[in-house]
Symmetry: C2
Subunit: 142 residues, 2 copies
DNA sequence: CTGGATCCATAACGATACTG
DNA sequence: CAGTATCGTTATGGATCCAG
């Protein structure tokens, strides 16, 4: 049996999962700050630019701006700007963004329990970043 | 209530998941080929170097070698070399590696069903790569 | 056959200063 | 406040040739 035919048959039986949908997304989730940004916004419901700078201790405004734009292009976050003085912009998760935030949890749990992780405490690098904790969205911080 | 205290309380109740275990791992899974390599090996049980080159159409030997080394350091794959002429080396997944392979599936499924994916077929870039299909490990290809 | 060594192009990321 | 502009550093991946 040809490989392609075999794959097709398995796909019909729902035995095959494909990496194709990841195209584009893999470029996003592989970015250093992307998941942390999505999580930070998810933790609070919505966040402003400078608030994100504080949450993601160590990120530069340029990097944050770049990443936010990509996340918008992928429709993972929504940007809402208010015509006020001083200007105000809020970022929140789209439905897709919330979905991604939840889809990542299995990996986190796997990483937490695997053999290689001897760490009990959070590492210094991450302890400085409030956004490294995932909180249930029903328990938003105010 | 202080934020730190709040976090700790939620952690006890298992309501908080932390990104810290990802440190190190995030550098691995974020690499362009890492997930595809793990999946390719998982699809077959074990694979040789040049076989991987074929599966991952487009990867260069250096990139493959580099990535394989990282995956070994993270104990996600195991390298077995046989003292033969010509030399033979086989790569297989460790238990951790299999765990990661499964932990990724939710993200794949999320990506496949989300709004942004209008694609029915696999994109050209991925269609060329046999390893972009996840197969059940009980149905290895021979 | 399995890579190691070398060189190169590009992109990611950061620091800082500045603007509507 | 919410970014942009500019510059520099580093990390990543590819091409090619070579060696045990």
């Amino acid at each position: 049996m040809l490989l392609t035919a075999k794959v097709k048959e398995m796909q019909n039986k729902n035995e095959v999962v494909c990496y194709c949908p990841l195209e584009g997304i893999i470029d996003v989730i592989s970015k250093k700050w992307a998941l942390l940004i999505i999580n930070a916004i998810g933790n609070y419901g919505s966040l402003r630019f400078n608030r994100l700078i504080e949450e993601l201790r160590g990120i530069s405004p340029k990097t944050l701006a770049d990443t936010l734009k990509q996340l918008q292009n992928e429709q993972l976050i929504k940007r809402t700007s208010f015509a006020e003085i001083p200007p105000r912009v809020e970022y929140s998760l789209t439905k897709d963004g919330q979905g991604l935030r939840e889809a990542v949890v299995p990996i986190l749990k796997w990483a937490a329990t695997r053999q290689g992780s001897k760490r009990k405490e959070c590492s210094l690098a991450y302890r400085k970043i409030p956004a490294h904790k995932i909180r249930d969205s029903s328990q938003k911080i105010t």
